[in-house]
């Protein structure tokens, strides 16, 4: 079915970040063709993909999801969530599905549901590596079987095609795994016949909702797509989009504001015209879609060990004046003591961050000379097992407290610890381990769709 105009709502920057109910109501009153929200990001780091946990709270996800699904069912329009549960892995998708089922029971809602999976099979990926259909990005080395084997979880970042397949199959609620952020909106716009350039651009604007508006807050954004332009307008009457706020959204979390690499093409915004349409709405035209060979970006996380930390502060000017030497002495002393437990140096590493010196920028810190009157010392041990990490950090704490230095006046423990216990177990820690794209046979191959009637 082709439309002359497609209207879509994005509820918030991330599912679970919240939005005013009144804004969603205002959006539904304008008879949109879908409502959606992006659920994920790699920004909070590798822990979530690795551990299978969400980075937003269960209660906050349920609150947002409940308003969205009830609104969509009442308005008889599709509701789509991209990158469920933050990282889009199977546990993340299942968490959102569980919450959706609870909401459906509590409110007696009925609809056709599509779950789009994005976790990837390791044997299949290895086959793709063998047939030279996996390519490294940036400075990454070619993908190896060992990296695939070590990954706790690997997801592919889907484009709009699996969403379109689910829409074609009549799904009203779509919960999807890892997706490129614009995918839900790009899919809906193309489903109703809009050109790829305008469709992708609308997704780019809507994925972070009112990040494209002023003043910035988590709120609902309306996007209208035609064959000529994309219009965006915040649904909260206290907010507005300006040409500048919309242009700023083009800069958001991308490597380039004009070249946006997506599955199957590049959204080129270099010739865009951004014009105020009303005091609160902005129209953008002139975007281009440049088709490219179809590839899917992979994300993976592997467990690198177990972490324990301790935090201490010093207010001792004598110690602060020689902090680098002091930390070196502490490290050497810890290594000697830990070796006495028959723990191999290969089984652990420690990291010391000095807040007040270069704790935030480390080697990039341009200011080498300035020191504060107090320093925070965050010591971390990352080890093969939690027991080893705990043993190392315990030795570290005692050694920080009692290590001598020239000119020491405070002859007792010379460190301020804010907590008891002062050693904190952090559990398993992960690192992102894939920076590659894969060529699928077709855009839907890697993303099985499971339909059910709720």
């Amino acid at each position: 079915m082709k439309h002359d105009e497609v209207r879509m709502v994005s509820a918030s920057g991330i599912l679970g970040y919240g939005f005013p109910e009144s804004s969603l109501k205002a959006g539904l009153a304008r008879k949109p063709h879908m409502i959606g929200v992006d659920g994920g990001s790699s920004d909070p780091g590798p822990h979530y993909l690795g551990s299978g946990k969400p980075f937003t709270n269960r209660l906050s996800i349920k609150r947002d999801l409940s308003l969205l699904v009830r609104g969509a069912i009442a308005s008889k329009i599709p509701m789509m969530i991209g990158t469920c549960g933050g990282a889009g892995g199977e546990p993340h998708l299942q968490l959102c599905n569980e919450l959706l089922q609870e909401i459906a029971r509590e409110h007696d809602l009925h609809f056709k549901l599509a779950l789009i999976h994005s976790e990837q099979s390791k044997p299949w990926l290895k086959q793709r590596v063998k047939s030279n259909r996996v390519h490294a990005l940036g400075t990454a080395a070619p993908l190896t079987e060992a990296v695939i084997d070590r990954a706790e979880r690997i997801v592919g970042m889907m484009g709009p095609e699996p969403y379109r397949a689910a829409l074609d199959a009549g799904a009203q609620v779509i919960l999807a795994g890892r997706s490129t952020d614009p995918a839900p909106w790009a899919a809906l716009a193309m489903h109703y016949g809009m050109p790829p350039a305008q469709s992708w651009f609308s997704g780019k604007m809507l994925e972070c909702a009112c990040n494209a508006a002023l003043p910035k807050k988590h709120d609902c954004l309306m996007g209208t797509v035609t064959r000529d332009y994309v219009e965006v307008e915040p649904l909260n009457p206290d907010m507005r989009c300006t040409p500048l706020s919309v242009a700023v959204q083009c800069l958001h979390e991308n490597a380039s504001p004009i070249i946006h690499k997506e599955p199957g093409g590049i959204l080129d915004t270099s010739a865009c015209e951004i014009m105020a349409h009303t005091e609160r709405a902005v129209r953008v035209s002139g975007m281009q879609w440049l088709p490219q060979p179809y590839t899917i970006k992979l994300e993976g996380a592997e467990k690198v060990g177990y972490s324990a930390i301790t935090f201490a502060g010093t207010r001792d000017p004598g110690l602060i004046g020689q902090i680098d030497d002091f930390v070196r002495t502490v490290r050497e002393s810890v290594a000697t003591k830990v070796a006495a437990f028959n723990i191999s140096p290969e089984d652990y590493q420690f990291v010391v961050r000095l807040y007040g010196k270069n704790g935030v920028m480390d080697e990039w810190e341009p200011s080498k000379s300035e020191t504060s009157h107090e320093l925070g010392i965050l010591a971390e041990a990352v080890a093969k097992t939690q027991d080893i990490a705990n043993a190392v950090i315990s030795v570290m704490r005692v050694t920080l407290l009692h290590t001598d230095f020239p000119g020491r006046l405070c002859k007792e423990g010379n460190m301020g610890f804010p907590f008891s216990p002062s050693d904190i177990e952090r559990g398993p820690v992960y690192e992102f381990s894939l920076r590659h794209v894969v060529e699928p046979d077709d855009p839907c191959q890697m993303f099985p769709i499971e339909y059910s009637t709720v």
Binding site: G45, P46, G138, V248, L251, E253, P257, D362
Partner: protein
């Protein structure tokens, strides 16, 4: 001579995915942006020097619609990896703040 922190409307850093860091510098209006642009101070070489990365690795874009510059570089360490100090890459903009702009 004014420093960037005196004349920019926004100056920030953020992850562009877990492997890259992107720096955005924005000005209030086209006039200020044009004045800054004419000085030629903000360029890939400046970013390379401040962050000690090869100049060829800096993805640098002028973006007049937002009165902005954008520079993207490899992160010093992958987001959240052992030894990282800034998972979101949100506090790596400080070296830009004191850059002197002769306008």
């Amino acid at each position: 001579m004014p420093k960037l922190k005196d004349i920019a409307k926004a100056c920030k850093s953020k992850n562009a995915g877990p492997y890259e860091l992107t720096l955005d510098i924005m000005f209030e209006d086209a006039a200020t942006f044009d004045k800054v642009r004419k000085t030629g101070v903000i360029c890939p070489e400046l970013i390379a020097k401040l962050y000690r990365v090869p100049v060829a690795s800096v993805v640098f874009t002028e973006f007049p619609p937002a009165h902005a510059y954008k520079a993207t570089i490899e992160r010093r360490i992958v987001s959240g990896a052992v030894g990282d100090t800034d998972v979101y890459g949100a506090q790596q903009h400080a070296p830009l703040l004191d850059v002197e702009i002769p306008i």
